[in-house]
């Protein structure tokens, strides 16, 4: 059964190879056939894998592992490339290929005018391959392979418009920070192998005998005694990888910059799928996170701080994609909070609903940017509801969903997380309790902030009257051809642009190829929450996703009803409060006012984290390198070698004087020598 997954992996890989090698020569229709067709095939196979899993009873048997080939054998290390089909990987695959397919379709419209059309789709196919590999691998090494390859795909797509300095800088930043995560993951694998002698996950129940079929890090870890230091180090190292990939403090800095990539990329990679890999990893290896009592609280604390921190920045940003980027960071923090409460399925649930509504938000923002010819600044928008009806309505649904307004998808998953946090706070003892209370408070507060900044964005784009000057003539693409000349053209075009209502009529709704995915995602954002828990209504039999994931993730702690209602009520009140403030402030249209408020300035400038990092870390390092290059390499080592050479040549120059060629001198030397020898023996006696 797991071998079905091979057919999920192969089509996008083939698509990447075909487009990468031949894409330049293919017509657009052929490129789209390959790109869409491969992802559609992949989706169909993922769907059939999912359905075949549903057909298996009892639930605990819903796991299948297929070894494809042996990657390497080195001493006692054996690594096989194997695929694991279980409820968790099936869920992830559905989200990845499903949302991936919608975004592939959308991209045909968004990227229509880009000269790098074929390159874009080959990279996108490659990403789908890498991401499906990441979630379907049955061991940590191939997880790491997928982990690295999605990082590469992200690098290639952020830097897609490679002639823009900002895009290449952002791509570099993303790659280097992601490699820090790879570093953590590698060390975690080393540590696990050192103590457990395997890199496989293991499956089929606890099986503690090395070498047997079910033996792996997830099974062995639970029955093997690891020291307290090791059992804390393993989850923390894994979490370093998660923090880098899923943009958590302090490794989040790359994600806002990653918005330099084309918007469909931001939707697919930097919102819906790749950045959730960390959430997936925690869920997948949750056994390891429970080894140490400190691991999950640390994850929760980082997630909670990130959620709040990013939300405050999102409140102040003017670039619509940056608002969404910080919102993604914040929501990812939410997912980690849910997982830290032991409710991994809540984290995965929020992952899926977030994939719908955040992809929708980005694609909607993309439609706006597309219509405005590349404009991303909220100050140049407004009033677009008149011209972009479909985008407007779908965007509204996504905003309601992310703000946690019932009955949209985000409400259910967010509620699940907050309920789990409060349940955890009331059920654990000791000081950790206060942490979870704190996290719950952070979550509720963030829910309010989320509604506030999302409606600020919504009003800014669609309501009020139009503030801009019509679409930029340039097109959104930092186009491949003749960049130098075009830069000037843009400036003159901007100078001639008209402002106000008349310019609004130059703006058109996106073509159907873009709006159809918006509508589908809007439907998912509306009803996608229904697979979640209905425990709130004391109807605990209806929780399909939880039940489905339970064989992998275990059952989440049960909360009691009044507590859940308290949590729901609080978060709903905060969300409505946020909505209200946004309406009061921006309901008549977004007005930008320069603010002198120091807190505002601080958040607007992203707390100066980038600047501090450059000043404290990057610049000193490069300075050190340059100094060492000049002083150590040039001065000490090269100079030292020269000095030794010089010393030898001086020495031999001195020695050469003795070789006069006169016999009388040599005779004299012999005489002195003989005299000395005689003297020596005389003295010695």
């Amino acid at each position: 059964m797991a071998s079905l997954l091979l057919w999920v992996l192969i089509p996008p890989l083939l698509g990447f190879i075909i487009l990468g090698l031949l894409g330049r020569t293919l017509p657009r229709s052929a490129i789209l056939t390959v790109a869409w067709g491969t992802v559609a095939l992949s989706f169909l196979f993922a769907l059939s894998a999912f359905l075949s899993l549903l057909g298996v009873h009892p639930d605990s048997q819903r796991v299948s592992d297929a070894s494809v080939y042996t990657w390497a054998i080195a001493g006692d290390l054996q690594v096989h490339f194997g695929l694991l089909l279980d409820p968790l990987s099936a869920t992830m695959l559905l989200v990845i290929t499903g949302v991936g397919l919608l975004i592939h379709i959308y991209s045909a419209g968004y990227m229509a005018d880009d000269p790098g059309f074929w390159r874009f789709f080959s990279y996108m196919n490659f990403f789908i391959f890498a991401m499906t590999l990441l979630v379907s691998a049955d061991n940590l090494l191939f997880l790491l392979v997928g982990w690295g390859l999605v990082g590469l795909a992200s690098f290639l797509l952020i830097g897609f418009w490679y002639q823009r300095p900002a895009a290449t800088a952002a791509a570099r930043k993303a790659l280097v920070i992601n490699v820090i995560g790879d570093f953590g993951l590698m060390l975690a694998i080393f540590l696990l192998f050192k103590h457990l002698n395997t890199v496989d996950y293991g499956y089929g129940g606890p099986n503690c005998i090395p070498g047997t079929s079910g033996y792996g890090v997830l099974t062995a870890a639970s029955c093997q005694q690891l020291g307290s230091l090791v059992s804390l180090a393993i989850p923390l190292l894994l979490f370093v990888a998660c923090a880098a990939k899923s943009a958590q403090l302090p490794l989040y800095m790359w994600l806002p910059d990653a918005m330099e990539g084309p918007t469909p990329v931001s939707a697919l990679i930097h919102a819906a799928t790749m950045v959730t890999a960390g959430v997936y990893l925690v869920a997948r290896t949750h056994v390891l996170f429970t080894l140490s009592p400190y691991a999950l609280p640390i994850v929760g604390a980082i997630g909670g701080l990130t959620a709040l921190f990013a939300a405050t920045i999102a409140l102040t940003q003017l670039d619509i994609k940056r608002v969404l980027a910080y919102s993604t960071i914040s929501q990812l923090g939410y997912m980690f909070m849910g997982e830290s409460a032991g409710s991994y399925s809540a984290g995965i649930f929020h992952l899926t609903t977030h994939a719908y509504f955040k992809a929708l938000l980005f694609l909607g923002a993309g439609a706006v940017i597309h219509a405005l010819g590349g404009e991303q600044d909220m100050r140049e928008m407004g009033g677009l509801r008149y011209r972009m009806r479909i985008t407007f309505w779908t965007f509204l649904i996504a905003v309601l969903a992310i703000s946690g307004i019932p009955p949209f998808a985000g409400f259910w998953s967010k509620d699940d997380i907050l309920g789990a946090l409060l349940t955890q706070a009331t059920s654990v003892g000791g000081a950790v309790r206060y942490l979870y209370y704190g996290l719950w408070g952070l979550g509720v507060l963030t829910a309010g902030l989320t509604a506030l900044y999302m409606f600020r964005l919504f009003y800014g784009i669609f309501m009020g009257s139009y503030r801009g000057a019509g679409p930029l003539k340039h097109g959104h693409a930092g186009s491949d051809e003749e960049e130098e000349e075009e830069e000037e053209e843009v400036i003159t075009a901007a100078g001639r642009r008209r402002r106000g209502e008349s310019a609004l009529y130059e703006i058109y709704e996106a073509p159907a190829v873009m709006t159809v995915p918006l509508v589908i995602l809007a439907i998912l954002s509306t009803i996608g929450g229904l697979v979640g828990s209905f425990a709130l209504f004391n109807y605990s039999r209806w929780q399909p996703l939880n039940t489905f994931l339970e064989p992998v993730l275990g059952s989440a702690p049960e909360g009691n009803l009044p507590l859940l209602w308290l949590s729901t009520g609080a978060s709903l009140i905060f969300a409505l409060l946020g909505l209200l403030i946004a309406w009061r402030r921006y309901g008549q249209g977004f007005v930008y006012k320069e603010s002198r408020n120091p807190f505002y300035r601080l958040a607007y400038n992203k707390y100066y984290v980038d600047e501090i990092g450059v000043a404290l870390l990057i610049n000193p390092l490069l300075w050190l390198g340059r100094q060492a290059s000049a002083l150590l390499e040039g001065g000490l080592l090269d100079g030292g070698s020269r000095l030794v050479g010089r010393a030898f040549s001086l020495l031999s120059a001195a020695g050469r004087r003795l070789q006069t060629g006169y016999v009388r001198n040599y005779a004299l030397a012999i005489l002195i020598g003989v005299v000395l020898i005689i003297l020596y023996y005389v003295v010695r006696g």
Partner: protein, 516 residues
């Protein structure tokens, strides 16, 4: 039995002589003869490799190497040499002509023959004193192959020095403006190390003498019951290590390398970095580790410390270079540090780590493939524009899309992207290191971060961004245009690219050779 290994070693030498005898004007005949010889040698080496991969009924385990300190050694690793050839030369001095292959040397032999084919094919643009150049390249191949195949220490030394001579002339004769300085520095550094090793070899023969005869045959020594006391081992280890540490090189014995690599013509640099640097690592593995296990155990922390310093320090150096070849030179030292670290990943009992050794050997092959590709691409780029400074470039991907893709792949391989070849080697080596010493493991693994940074810097500063107005690149474009990789250049790089992918996806065959 047919002297297969001798044929492989001396075929290039003979080919070189033939090339010298060809008429000067027949440039194409000269080129194709040299390339043909290199190809033939590669085919022979591949034949040996295939034969080695078969289950060998005639295998004679000629020695067991205690990898455990002290006499009571429960674990022994056997060293099996195949296709042995043995001719008495000066038996009283222990000097014999003996050759043999094991899994490690069969890989390095094949790598050397492959890289020679690639580098000779990449040298088709060389015009100045073509015959001599190609003869030296082939002689270099002979020397390298001898180093990897010799099983007598004196013979090893002869080949070791033989390898130096063509390298010296190639750097000094065909290099850039500072080539003479670079060549002399290279030779002096290497020679000092070699002479210490020669002293060590003589002493070793003396200690293992039997009945008044010196013994220098590796197989005899490994089978001998003589156990050197640890002080002797220490000094002999250091004498051997002097030669290897310069060749690899270990920091701080590396000062010759950036000069030599950046001054030599690109194909020669590729040979030096791709194949010759492996001779040092091979020496550590074959001689220092097996002949002097006690000393290796005692000195492993020292060597590992130097390796770790080299890994991180040279990564930092690579980060601030503006000359592309110097950047690659420092990256090369940094990566070789990982190999050394893997070789010396000894456990607390002095046992070598199987993952460490496997990873190190795998990485020798991988680094040979990747760094050769990188130096050749940079050479192709330099041939078009006449500059190696990163600041002069930018936005080349639009003009040179194929070259940009190839450079990208090579850089990704070099930075250890999972799924490509270097990842497999580095992962195994560092895993071995980490198991036995977490501190070295963590510090060694840390290199992936700066490695990603400087390699991406190389790709982005050349291929991406915006081309600076004016400067040599624009001048070159005005003069002759900037053609993308031509079919010949692409074919030169193709085998390397295929291997980058193949080994990354399926390294099993290579680890098989190391373990058998």
């Amino acid at each position: 039995m047919f002297p297969m290994l001798s044929t492989i070693i001396f075929l290039p030498l003979l080919g070189g002589i033939v090339v010298l005898l060809l008429p000067r004007e027949r440039v194409n005949v000269i080129r194709w003869t040299a390339l043909g010889v290199a190809w033939l040698d590669l085919l022979l080496a591949l034949g040996v490799m295939l034969a080695y991969a078969q289950p060998h009924p005639t295998a004679i385990t000629v020695g067991t190497v205690p990898l455990v300190v002290g006499e009571a050694s429960p674990t022994v690793a056997s060293v099996t040499f195949l296709l042995q050839e043995h001719l008495s030369w000066l038996p009283a001095l222990g000097i014999n002509y003996s050759l043999g292959v094991d899994g490690v040397s069969v890989l390095l032999m094949t790598l050397t023959t492959l890289l020679t084919v690639v580098c000779i094919a990449a040298s088709f643009r060389v015009e100045q004193k073509l015959r001599t150049y190609l003869a030296f390249m082939l002689l270099l191949e002979s020397g390298l192959l001898g180093v990897f195949l010799a099983t007598n220490l004196f013979l090893f030394y002869v080949f070791w020095e033989l390898m130096l001579i063509p390298a010296y002339f190639l750097v000094g004769g065909w290099g850039g403006p500072r080539r003479v300085y670079a060549a002399i520095k290279f030779v002096l550094y290497t020679a000092v190390g070699s002479f210490l090793m020669l002293a060590g070899i003589i002493a070793l023969g003396y200690y293992y003498r039997t009945g008044g005869h010196y013994t220098l045959d590796l197989t005899t020594i490994l089978n001998s019951s003589t156990h050197l006391n640890s002080t002797v081992q220490l000094w002999l280890f250091l004498a051997f290590a002097a030669a290897f540490a310069v060749k690899v090189p270990l920091v701080p014995f590396h000062s010759w390398l950036p000069d030599a690599y950046s001054e030599a013509p690109a194909p020669v640099t590729a040979m030096l970095a791709g194949a010759m640097a492996k001779a040092g690592a091979y020496g550590f593995l074959r001689y220092c580790l097996t002949l002097f296990p006690d000393a290796a155990h005692r000195l492993a922390p020292l060597i590992s410390t130097l390796a770790v310093i080299g890994i991180l320090y040279c990564a930092l150096m690579a980060l601030v270079q503006s000359d592309m070849k110097r950047l690659l030179a420092y990256s090369s030292i940094s990566h070789l540090g990982v190999i050394t670290l893997g070789i010396f990943a000894l456990s607390a009992q002095g046992l070598a780590s199987q993952q460490g050794i496997d990873g190190a050997v795998l990485q020798m092959v991988n680094h040979g493939i990747t760094i050769t590709a990188l130096f050749l691409i940079v050479g192709f780029l330099e041939a078009r524009t006449g500059t190696r400074r990163l600041e002069d470039y930018g936005g080349m991907a639009r003009r040179l899309p194929i070259m940009a893709s190839v450079l990208m792949i090579a850089c990704l391989s070099s930075l250890g992207l999972p799924g490509l070849n270097s990842f497999a080697g580095e992962f195994l080596a560092l895993l071995g290191v980490f198991r036995n010493n977490a501190v070295f493991g963590v510090l060694g693994t840390l290199v992936v971060v700066p490695a990603a940074w400087y390699m991406i810097r190389l790709v982005q500063n050349t291929m991406m961004g915006v081309r600076p107005a004016g400067g040599p690149v624009v001048a070159a474009e005005r003069k002759g245009g900037l053609p993308d990789l031509d079919i010949g250049e692409f074919l030169v790089l193709l085998p390397l690219l295929v291997l980058i992918f193949y080994i990354g996806v399926h390294p099993l065959p290579l680890t098989f050779f190391v373990e058998h």
